[in-house]
């Protein structure tokens, strides 16, 4: 509203300015005005004369009522005429002239305007600006509301606020972007593609996949057997190598060395055939070794050892031999290499082949492919025969393993059967437990025969047994009951209703439990204090009983304490004779009765309870003044009416907790020490104490929770990372895309601020 008003005011102001400018555009000469003035007056007079001729306007005398003192060319007087002078009349020439139409139009427009409102005072304008600015700012800031709300409700805030980490790009995308550049990379890629090694999701080659699909259980077993065999072989070779390494015999080592040298020469020959260049290099190496040997005095019999041997050589054959060996070695090393003939080579190769078992060779042969294991599965059929052939040749343990693997299928099937059998037996056992058969289902019997027939037989047997058991129990029960009845007849009438219902037989089976439930439905267990034999009474007058029950729900203390309880049978004292039991018991009862005849515990207790109740009751206030308003004296008491009138009854407190428990006195006093630790002020959002209690009932300590739960429950509300700058939250952080300066635009538009700012600028310029 105010804004629009202000705008209007502003508009009006600008138009005023326009008006002010107007006269300068159209200057009017005074002389023109002068000339017109005389003619006008004459014309007026004439008009008046004509008007007076008619009778109507006779009262309008031509007399002047008021003297016009000033007559000037600047002042226009309209005396004498009844009309009002219009502004346009002034401009209107006698003859209409076109030059004045524009002015006239403007004039008319000005006239159409009403008078301008006063411009608002400064304070008002500023207030309006402030209001506009406030509304705009609040609108801008309202977008943060949800963020603030979220942060307030957040269980934990971690500062500095972090943007969500970019989600993990799938590995295939990463690979697509990546290209091999270096030659090594290209080589690797070539290798990979040659084997159709997939770079994307399942990292298995098609061959591998196919093999995976093709591999059945048997195949897997065969594979495992092969693996095991290979491992066994490897370990065998390793063991052999180790053993050989440990051999200390010089002779042996000599032989080995010779063999090695021979082999080296053979290798060299072979190499010469295949790759002459490499052979040349090798030759150079050998040459070099020869040169070194020739240079050194190593085998020249010039060392300390050799000298000592030389002394001994005269008498000792061995020493002589050793020296000769040395020399021979020297000779050998310094000898130039000789070329060996082709035929010899081949024979050697064959020898070597014979040394190494077939399996190893086979593995080497297969090693050419991308993945030897996978390859094997593919052409399994072809190789199966070989494998079997191998198994025949192989040493004993491996072969044994293989055979076991072959037979593996059978045991597994057996295992299944066994498992099934086991489960069945378990269920059976459960059932038999329900039937209260402590008899074990012969586990060992069924172990061998897995047939279902036996199982069914067993089931039948167990059921029979359970039946028998129950049958045998029933006769047991009946004498017990009779005994109970006998016992029930004996006690004194005041003691004839035992509180607790106990049965001589322990509830053992589910069926019995159900029976128990049925018995519960019977009316003879309605009252907690009702006895087994009390049921008959109830049946006699159930209505009366009901009434009585309604009246006093309170359990009588007498009944409670004089409960007749079944006494322990022989078990407590295993050695005592059972027959005497009843007599002994009776005697004891009698004794106890006699012993406690004097002190009436119950009466005392009830008295104590009454006293405590009285003590805890809020006291009435008696305001009667004896003798006030009536006769007073020694024996005179205030009248009942007066006493009633001046007695202020205390408000009744809450009901006591032990009002229905005759044998209990519960202290109603408040524990002020504990209350000091309780919460006594409701925290903010809660309006009722029960609401707050619910939120603090769950313990948060590590004693009552798992470690992870404890950590989560006790996590701090705000976490700050050490050594990090916590920057104020930005719109971008919470997902807004607005320009960061948007919230400042309003502030700049504030005119007052702007003017102040300009003033300061001006001042600076002036300085």
């Amino acid at each position: 509203m105010h804004a629009t008003k202000a705008a209007k005011g502003l508009l009006a102001l600008s138009q005023q300015e326009e008006l002010v400018d107007l006269p300068t555009n159209y200057p009017l000469s005074a002389s023109e005005d002068e000339g017109d003035g005389d003619g006008e007056r004459k014309h007026q007079k004439l008009l008046e004369a004509i008007g007076s001729l008619s009778g109507k306007n006779r009262w309008k005398s031509a007399e002047r009522s008021e003297a016009s003192l000033k007559v000037s060319e600047f002042n226009v007087s309209s005396e004498g005429s009844g009309e009002k002078l219009a502004l346009s009349d002034l401009l209107e020439p006698v003859k209409p002239s076109s030059s004045l139409t524009a002015v006239k139009k403007q004039l008319s427009r000005v006239k159409a305007k009403k008078t301008l409102d006063l411009p608002l005072n400064k304070g008002e304008v500023e207030r309006i600006h402030r209001e506009v600015a406030f509304s705009k700012t609040s609108q801008i800031l309202s977008k943060w509301d949800s963020v603030v709300q979220k942060n307030r409700e957040a269980e934990q805030l971690v500062f500095p606020l972090e943007k969500e980490p970019a989600s993990f790009a799938p590995i295939e995308q990463v690979f697509l972007d990546w290209k091999a550049r270096t030659p090594l990379e290209q080589e690797v890629f070539n290798l990979l593609h040659k084997n159709k090694q997939p770079v994307t999701d399942p990292l298995l080659t098609p061959v591998e996949k196919a093999s995976l699909r093709a591999m059945s259980l048997e195949e897997a077993k065969i594979r495992r057997a092969e693996l095991q065999r290979a491992r066994a072989l490897q370990s065998y070779y390793e063991a052999r190598a180790r053993r050989m390494k440990k051999i200390k015999s010089k002779k042996y080592h000599k032989i080995v060395k010779k063999g090695k040298a021979k082999k080296a020469i053979k290798d060299f020959e072979q190499l010469r055939k295949v790759d002459p260049n490499a052979a040349l290099e090798e030759l150079e190496k050998i040459e070099k070794a020869r040169m070194m040997e020739r240079m050194s005095l190593k085998h020249q019999n010039s060392g300390k050892w050799a000298k000592s041997k030389a002394i001994m050589a005269k008498y000792d054959l061995e020493a002589r031999q050793a020296m000769q060996e040395q020399l021979a070695k020297n000779k050998e090393l310094t000898q130039k290499l000789q070329v060996v003939s082709e035929s010899e080579e081949e024979g050697g190769a064959e020898e070597e082949e014979a040394l190494v078992p077939d399996v190893v060779n086979e593995a080497q042969m297969n090693a050419g492919g991308p993945n030897p294991w996978m390859l094997r599965t593919c052409n399994r059929d072809a190789q199966e025969d070989e494998v079997q052939a191998n198994s025949n040749e192989l040493p004993e343990p491996v072969a044994h393993e293989f055979s076991e693997n072959e037979g593996n299928e059978k045991p597994e099937a057996e295992e299944d059967v066994l498992l099934k059998e086991f489960e069945e037996r378990r269920s059976l056992r459960k059932r038999s437990k329900l039937n209260q058969d402590a008899k074990p289902v012969g586990g060992q019997e069924t172990k061998d025969s897995a047939t279902k027939e036996v199982l069914s037989e067993l089931k039948a047997l167990s059921q029979k047994l359970s039946k028998d058991n129950r049958l045998s129990k029933k006769p047991k029960e009946s004498p017990a009951k009779t005994v109970l009845l006998v016992q029930e007849e004996e006690p004194a009438p005041e003691e004839d209703e035992p509180l607790l219902l106990q049965r001589p037989e322990r509830v053992q089976t589910l069926e019995e439990l159900e029976e128990l439930g049925k018995e519960d439905c019977l009316p003879n267990k309605e009252l907690p204090g009702a006895a087994v034999e009390g049921g008959e009474q109830v049946r006699r007058n159930p209505q009366e009983e009901l009434k009585g029950k309604k009246k006093e729900k309170m359990i009588s203390l007498q009944k409670l304490l004089t409960t007749r309880t079944p006494s322990v049978t022989s078990v407590a004292v295993p050695t005592t004779v059972e027959e005497q039991e009843d007599e002994v018991e009776r005697d004891q009862k009698q004794m106890i009765k006699e012993a406690f005849a004097g002190d009436d515990v119950i009466k005392e207790f009830l008295k104590e309870k009454r006293e405590t109740i009285q003590a805890n009751k809020p006291k009435d206030l008696d305001l009667t003044l004896p003798g006030w308003g009536e006769w007073g004296g020694m024996d005179l008491k205030p009248s009942a009416k007066k006493r009633r009138r001046f007695l202020i009854k205390a408000p009744e407190g809450p009901p006591r907790k032990d009002r229905n428990l005759p044998n209990v006195i519960i202290n109603e006093k408040r524990n002020i020490h504990a209350a000091a630790h309780q919460v006594r002020v409701l925290p903010y959002p809660f309006t009722h104490h029960q609401q707050f209690e619910r939120t603090i009932q769950n313990p948060i300590g590590s004693t009552w929770n798992t470690q992870r739960a404890f950590q989560k429950l006790t996590a701090p509300k705000v976490v700050t990372k050490a050594g990090h700058i916590i920057k104020p939250i930005k719109a971008e952080d919470v997902g807004y895309q607005s320009s960061p300066r948007s919230d400042l635009s309003v502030m700049q538009s504030n005119p007052k601020r702007r003017s102040k700012h300009q003033k300061q600028l001006k001042k600076r310029r002036a300085q």
Binding site: R506, L560, Q588, V601, L661, N671
Partner: protein, 616 residues
């Protein structure tokens, strides 16, 4: 509730009892056992004693995996079902979704009492309540999953062919169990220094013996290593370990003494004189002493100060027990009552008339639910402690029980003369049924002290002929909390634990009947403060403002229409109230009708007839 089950270290894995009832399925890595090779020992007439399970013997029996069924629970959202997560190699997760947690186990760990209906709450409050419930659920599910770590199962004793387990002798049990367990049954023949009181330390590794004629000994009973042995040359009435096995409180004829594990006298507390019974409250570090002079004194052993001395006003106190659940002390009196005490209150918290004669023994089960009492009237009763204090079962014993004790798993033992009887309940949370004893044992002397050993299936009985350690299969908790009571802790660990326990010491004044009362708001003070505030301000700031009708235009805001609108709102509120109360009434009526139906359904079986009057 996280426990750290300790893997068995030096005890060889236990063998199955000779006649194993189930056959283990053969694993593929095992060699096939030919049926002929099965152990074919001579068929024993009775061999049913499954051994008492020591906690550290790693059973061969499978852990109860049935809780965590193999079948994964059906995933809740369809998206879960559709897309089992694929790994990079193309293999599928065989068990997609979070690990299943059994609901019934999780319910055990839910602590928020949802029985009370909450008043209407504002959205902000509601979110707080929801978060609290979500937290509870998460914590309980985690706890339920952690139950998997409680791998040990309790031992048990099973009669063959419905044979009475009470007739099984200790020798039979010892024969059936392995050597390590058999070694836990032993007799100490100490006839010289009279009847013995005994006490096991809280970890169950150490045993303190106190003979009436002054013999005090402390030993590591598992290794049979004697820590100290002295004669105090004075009558010893009771003996008790303090928070750890290093400190020993001995109630002697005149005063209370404290010894260390070397037998060196550390303190003589003269303010506790003529003490008859000792109890130690481990979480409060309080030593409660009952004296002949009728005083119940609480001694804070962490600072060495007497917290309170309460006069029970009931003569000589010689029967005492503590409730492990809420640390309330139960005292038995000669007038047949049992009174419950807390150091914060000068009067008993509750008083129950239990017997016609004097109370001879009191024991409270570890869950704090049941109390067993025996009196001079030869009765043994089990009371429900959950608010009602009513007897659940009772039994007359030929000789009244002089000593009672509960085991960790709720077995009840009573010492009567030279016979010890043990009763077991059907489950862990149920009271022991007094019909059929679970085990009986006859000792060489009259029982003077009883205690079940924690974490071992062993019952220690002190009697006039010395001390007997009995095997009671299934008495102890098989899984221990390594942070709380670690039987295998080293010296360093014990010291660490001591510091932690002292830091977590509970103030003595917090002992009350309901230990969860601390999680309640002090309503009395709250109301009082609210009242005072209203008085101070002159108005109720929390009260709902009265309805103020909005001003309307076009002449509709006349006084009459305003009044009318006000009245309309008031009527609406009133109607709501009435409707609500009517609904409540209806509900009540329905409940009553149901109850009546149930009641009336019973007598229909035996309908009263006119001829009933002739029935005799």
């Amino acid at each position: 509730m996280e426990t750290a089950p300790k893997p068995g270290r030096d005890v060889p894995p236990k063998k199955d009892s000779p006649q194993a009832k189930r056959k283990k399925p053969r694993r593929y890595w095992e060699e096939e056992v030919t049926p002929a090779a099965a152990p074919a020992g001579p068929p024993r007439k009775k061999a049913r004693a499954r051994e008492p399970r020591p906690p550290r013997s790693k059973g061969v029996r499978g852990a109860p995996k049935s809780h965590f069924g193999r079948k994964p629970q059906a995933p809740k959202n369809a998206s879960d079902r559709k897309k089992p997560r694929r790994t990079l190699s193309g293999a599928q997760d065989p068990f997609p979704g979070p690990a299943p947690a059994p609901a019934e186990v999780a319910r055990k760990f839910c602590r928020i009492d949802k029985s009370k209906k909450l008043p209407h709450s504002k959205p902000k409050t509601r979110t707080k309540l929801e978060t609290a419930e979500a937290q509870e659920e998460e914590a309980s599910v985690r706890a339920a999953r952690a139950e998997l770590l409680l791998a040990e199962e309790p031992g048990f004793l099973e009669g063959e062919d419905g044979e009475d387990t009470a007739k099984i002798l200790q020798t039979d049990i010892v024969e059936a169990v392995d050597i390590a367990s058999a070694a836990k049954h032993f007799d100490l023949n100490l006839r010289q220094f009279g009847p013995y009181r005994l006490n096991y330390s809280r970890t169950g590794r150490h045993l303190a013996l106190g003979g009436r004629r002054g013999h005090v000994a402390a030993l590591n009973w598992v290794t049979k290593k004697l820590m100290c042995e002295i004669n105090v040359m004075e009558a010893v009435r009771d003996i008790h370990f303090l928070h750890s096995e290093t400190l020993l409180a001995v109630a002697q004829n005149r005063w209370l003494y404290i010894y260390d594990n070397q037998g060196i006298e550390l303190h003589c507390i003269r303010r506790c004189d003529r003490v008859t019974r000792l109890e130690f409250l481990p979480f409060h570090f309080l030593l409660a002493t009952a004296s002949e002079t009728g005083f119940l004194t609480y001694l804070d052993v962490s600072v060495g100060k007497i917290v309170t001395a309460l006069n029970a006003r009931a003569g000589r106190l010689s029967v005492m027990a503590q409730n492990p659940y809420n640390a309330v002390i139960h005292l038995g009196h000669s007038n047949g009552t049992v009174s419950l005490w807390s150091p914060a209150v000068k009067e008993p918290l509750a008083k129950t008339l239990c017997h016609r004669g004097a109370v001879r023994a009191v024991a409270v089960d570890p869950t704090g639910t049941y109390m067993a009492t025996s009196g001079l009237d030869h009765q043994l009763k089990i009371f429900d402690l959950r608010g009602t204090f009513q007897p659940l079962s009772a039994r007359t014993l030929p000789q009244g029980a002089g000593h009672l004790a509960f085991s960790q798993r709720g077995l009840l033992v009573a010492g009567m003369g030279d016979v010890v009887n043990i009763w077991a309940g059907p489950g862990k949370a149920s009271p022991p049924s007094l019909e059929q004893p679970y085990l009986t044992h006859r000792l060489s002397g009259h029982v003077h002290g009883l205690q079940f050993c924690p974490f071992e299936d062993v019952l220690g009985v002190g009697h006039s002929g010395g001390m007997t350690s009995m095997l009671v299969p299934g008495s102890a908790e098989p899984n221990f909390d390594g942070l709380e009571n670690n039987p295998y802790r080293s010296r360093k660990q014990r010291q660490e634990w001591e510091v932690k326990a002292l830091l977590e010491k509970v103030p003595a004044e917090l002992i009350c009947l309901d230990p969860r009362a601390l999680a309640e708001v002090d309503v009395v003070t709250l109301e009082q403060q609210k009242k005072e505030r209203i008085e101070r301000l002159g108005y109720d700031p929390d009260a709902k403002a009265a309805f103020q009708p909005k001003a309307k235009q076009k002449g509709r805001s006349s006084t009459a229409s305003l009044v009318k609108r006000k009245k309309k709102v008031m009527d609406q509120e009133h109607r709501d109230k009435v409707r609500q109360s009517l609904e409540e009434q209806e509900e009540q009526q329905q409940q009553q009708q149901q109850r009546q139906k149930q009641k009336t359904a019973k007598p229909t079986r035996a309908r009263p007839s006119a001829l009933d009057r002739f029935v005799r």
